[in-house]
């Protein structure tokens, strides 16, 4: 059939291009009310009460407060976050009360007729204040989580190295800015609680609803509506929104729809964790790396949410794609009184990869080495071990990624021709550099690179604990002469193309055409728990469960055919005639040789890694410090591309998010409040900002990946973009930036003060 490896058209494409795809805001139910949220105007305080304007006509308006919440916790990793604040206010925009009304005008007015009465308290707003314990806001030390990874003796090895370098690298918040804001439709009936919403992980919501309302799983049904982007932003947050909508629905006795306004969405929902990383390294004069010591501090915001897992992933990527004999990593996440940070594509890795890649450029600068050659010399290979002691058995395509990107971008030629040497020079000279003759504009070009890895799938023993399941059903519609198949999985398509790629995998394993394979709408009432749609695990892990379920089914049919003759379809229909709908359900089997110890952080952190090399070419206007990305080359080892067009789409989209993080996006926070929570001032790239991408798919298959070796690809593109851009700017201008972002104002300020 050869479906795998082919760019078949998107299965959900026709509905999306004709406007018939139904997103949550396109849905309604008879008698539906609209819901809204009353939020805290201050970052920290004590809630004394909520005043209701007595002159307002409250008829037909439902108000829910903490007293109405049966079990007032959001069930995530920890249960520290209330569904509605009852006394402590821990961040600006924290939900305090909920309102529902028939129409948006009444709703807006009712919301204005509620006033929270809060005694403000001094907040902790920065990592430094949290670590300095200026005030105690979480536990004894304001620390959410700590991890340590060690291999060899890093301190000693650094001390003995010929070249010892230290740098501190900072990254800032980032908003997911999916174009469809968060939304949820909730109602209750005799069967319990029902939710339809924009979400990545139906079973996360399911768990939260069961906990807050003390329901068993048969009385909660969570269904994914067509979802307009997530990028992690719809991983854990929809649980809270679902609880809100359900509370209003319960109290009003009506269906309730809550759709966030863009500003509310930016203000209240999770963002990428800001991070500070200090790296000390030791190497010899030839650039052979020996030892690295890394200290990571992430700002978790006001509640734990998924912070420990983000921090863990950050720590596990902190040494980059390189061989180090000695490694010491310490990672800490602190609490602050800012909106909780959470999942965002890359999940901690972009922060630490920014640091290690900038540090690699620091080493190259010190040694006057070509930055790409320095990296190449130290790349991990099959047979090497990672900082956790993981032995790399297979699928380490990083060398090929570097070679392909180097060749396609013209690195060698451009590195020599453009920009100054990779040696720092007085940057004040930039402001005096004369314009070339005949032209008034002064522009400089440069080229920079990054190399990265991304652990595919859950960290450590995650999959072993989760036991993800997928089912494929075979059935017959009336008198049709061929059986049909339906994939049932909790893995959601939020734009990445899950529906399409899963159909390809299943149809190929069953030897049937794709149009006979359907993808069931993910609903907790009808699909098995395949685990969340996160961690670059959908194709690699869940896709492999699906492939195995489909192969099992194929084997049963084939056995029947051999026993009783006829065609494949004849055999399938015989099975259906005998047993009714045939269900093939499989549970993920973690490869037996994967060993991980949570206590020591030793072992196989990930089943396999994705690898990549980014090369950016930029032009910097030396008057305005505007950076234009004029070329971008990505080579990424994806194991096996099931659908090359969709695969490239993931890589290009993720890379542009990384470029935006570097060059455009900046969250301005003052007193714990976000000052630019609008699309006009939280600036993401347009089509004119985006470079033309050259995307190279390197395929070094993973033996246990579906379709002949697919690995996780979704997050890796977020890892390398920012450091490649920073390196290119450095090459063009001599301006060295260790902190994101790289806005013109930042380059200007750096250009004036010098390194």
């Amino acid at each position: 059939m050869a479906l795998v490896g082919r760019s078949v058209p998107r299965a959900d494409g026709p509905a999306k291009v004709t406007g018939t795809a139904r997103y949550v805001d396109d849905l309604t139910r008879p008698g539906v009310l609209l819901g809204a949220t009353l939020r805290s105007p201050v970052a920290r305080g004590r809630l004394r009460g909520i005043r209701r304007d007595p002159s307002f006509d409250w008829t037909g308006v439902t108000v829910v407060t903490a007293e109405d919440v049966p079990v007032n916790v959001v069930a995530l990793i920890e249960e520290d976050q209330p569904v509605l604040a009852s006394d402590d206010i821990r961040h600006a925009y924290e939900p305090i009360a909920l309102v529902a009304a028939e129409d948006p005008v009444r709703l807006a007015r009712a919301l204005r007729a509620l006033t929270p009465e809060i005694d403000p308290l001094p907040p902790i707003l920065t990592i430094a204040d949290a670590l300095g314990r200026k005030t105690q806001i979480h536990g004894p030390d304001n620390i959410f989580a700590t991890y340590r990874i060690s291999k060899g003796d890093a301190a000693k090895a650094i001390a003995e190295s010929a070249v010892r370098l230290t740098g501190t690298y900072r990254t800032h918040h980032q908003e997911q800015l999916y174009i469809e804001p968060q939304g949820m439709l909730a109602f209750w009936d005799a069967r319990g609680a029902h939710l339809v919403g924009s979400l990545q992980c139906p079973f996360y919501v399911h768990k939260g609803v069961m906990r807050t309302f003390s329901l068993d799983d048969a009385h909660v049904d969570v269904t994914q509506a067509v979802t307009g982007g997530g990028f992690g932003g719809k991983e854990e947050y929809p649980t809270l929104l679902a609880l809100h909508a359900l509370l209003l629905a319960k109290k009003s006795g009506r269906p309730v729809k809550m759709i966030y306004d863009r500003q509310e969405d930016i203000e209240a929902t999770t963002k990428r964790h800001p991070c500070e990383v200090t790296i000390s390294s030791g190497c010899d004069r030839e650039g052979n790396l020996s030892a690295v010591s890394v200290r990571i501090v992430m700002d978790g915001g006001a509640y734990v949410t998924l912070t420990p897992v983000v921090l863990s992933r950050g720590a596990l990527h902190a040494a980059g794609a390189y061989r180090w004999e000695h490694v010491a990593i310490e990672a800490i996440a602190v609490a602050t009184n800012t909106p909780p940070n959470g999942a965002f594509r890359g999940f901690g890795a972009p922060q630490t990869i920014w640091a290690i890649e900038r540090h690699m450029d620091r080493i190259a600068r010190e040694l006057s080495a070509d930055p790409l050659a320095l990296r190449e010399k130290n790349l991990l290979r099959v047979g090497d071990t990672t900082p956790t002691g993981q032995f790399l058995k297979e699928s380490v395509g990083v060398q090929r990624c570097v070679e392909e990107a180097r060749k396609a971008s013209g690195w060698d030629r451009k590195r020599a021709a453009l920009g100054p040497a990779a040696v720092a020079r007085p940057v004040s000279a930039i402001l005096r550099r004369p314009a070339p003759g005949g032209s008034a504009s002064r522009k400089a070009r440069g080229i920079g690179a990054s190399v990265f890895l991304h652990g595919a799938g859950f960290t450590g023993s995650g999959e072993r604990k989760l036991k993800g399941r997928v089912a494929i059903d075979m059935f017959r519609i009336l008198k049709e002469k061929k059986p049909r198949f339906t994939i049932r999985t909790a893995s959601t398509d939020i734009g990445q193309g899950t529906e399409t790629v899963f159909r390809q995998i299943a149809a190929e394993a069953l030897w049937v055409s794709m149009d006979r394979v359907d993808f069931a709408t993910p609903s907790t009432a009808t699909v098995p728990d395949s685990g969340p749609t996160v961690a670059s695990r959908t194709v690699m892990i869940v896709g492999s469960i699906l492939e195995s379920a489909a192969r099992d089914l194929f084997a049963r049919i084939e056995q029947n055919r051999q026993d009783h003759g006829g065609s494949f379809d004849d055999a399938a229909l015989r099975l259906i005639a005998r047993d009714g709908t045939i269900v093939s359900e499989k549970t993920y089997e973690t490869p037996a040789d994967l060993v991980w110890d949570d206590a020591t952080y030793r072992g196989d952190a990930y089943p396999v890694f994705g690898w990549g090399c980014d090369i950016a070419e930029v032009e910097v206007d030396l008057d305005t410090f505007e950076t234009t990305v004029i070329g971008f080359w990505v080579a990424q080892d994806v194991g096996k591309a099931i659908n090359p067009v969709l695969c490239k789409g993931q890589i290009e989209g993720g890379t542009l998010q990384a470029i935006g993080w570097a060059l455009n996006e900046k969250m301005v926070i003052q007193d714990g409040k976000i000052l630019n929570a609008r699309m006009t001032n939280y600036v993401v790239p347009t089509s004119l900002d985006a470079p033309r991408f050259t995307t190279i798919l390197v395929e070094d298959p993973y033996s246990k990946g579906p379709g002949g070796g697919a690995k996780g690809i979704g997050e890796a593109p977020m890892d390398g973009g920012a450091p490649a851009i920073a390196a290119a700017i450095e090459h063009a201008t001599g301006i060295v930036r260790d902190d994101l972002p790289l806005l013109p104002e930042d380059l200007f300020a750096a250009g004036r003060t010098g390194p």
Binding site: S7, P9, R10, D12, G13, P14, A15, K16, V17, T18, G19, T20, A21, R22, Y23, D25, D26, Q176, L177, Y178, I179, E180, P181, V226, T227, G228, G229, G230, F231, D261, R262, I494, G495, Q496, G497, V645, L646, K648, G649, E652, G653, G654, T655, L656, Q657, R678, M679, T680, V684, T686, S687, L688, A690, R692, F693, T695
Partner: protein, 158 residues
């Protein structure tokens, strides 16, 4: 206020508040939910429709100003039995991922190809610069539009 629009070729008369947003009229009384709201302030372009052939953000247009005018939405692009070249190309070339910006992008691109059947890459990028896409990095969108233009050219030679 009583008003009449021609929406996707059909004349529609309704009573609506004159300052209601065109977006709400389309998605509400007219039942055309293909037009999406992403920001409500003319920044994201998800609600792009064509007003007398020109792309506008339906979140910033008031209904009273549309009386007597022609509106084309994403629901009006396909013929009864076939997707338009643009729609087809977006499905094949990866122009749509999550799909929420897609209706708006399609409308902007439709206006471009109507005025300029053989646009260059720069013209394509400029024509969709008011449509924010967070999924694709734009490249597959640009390819989709370019391919649709090619397809159109082969269909209508000269």
């Amino acid at each position: 206020m009583r008003m009449t629009f021609v929406v996707n070729g059909l004349s529609r008369t309704l009573d609506a508040p004159p300052l209601a947003r065109l977006l709400d009229i389309l998605r509400g009384p007219l039942g055309l939910t293909g037009t999406k709201e992403g920001c409500g302030e003319g920044e994201c372009g998800s609600c792009t429709v064509l007003l007398d052939g020109v792309p506008v953000n339906a979140c910033l247009v008031v209904a009273g100003q549309c009386d007597g005018r022609k509106i084309l939405t994403v629901e009006g692009l396909a013929s009864k039995d076939a997707l338009s070249d643009l729609q087809e190309a977006f499905v094949k070339e990866g122009g749509a991922q999550c799909g929420i910006c897609t209706p708006g992008v399609l409308m902007a691109a439709h206006a471009l190809l109507a005025a300029n059947p053989q646009p260059g890459e720069g013209e394509i990028r400029e024509s969709i610069a008011g449509n924010i896409c967070r999924c694709t990095g734009y490249q597959r969108i640009v390819e989709s539009i370019r391919n649709a233009a090619k397809e159109q050219a082969t269909r209508e030679p000269g």
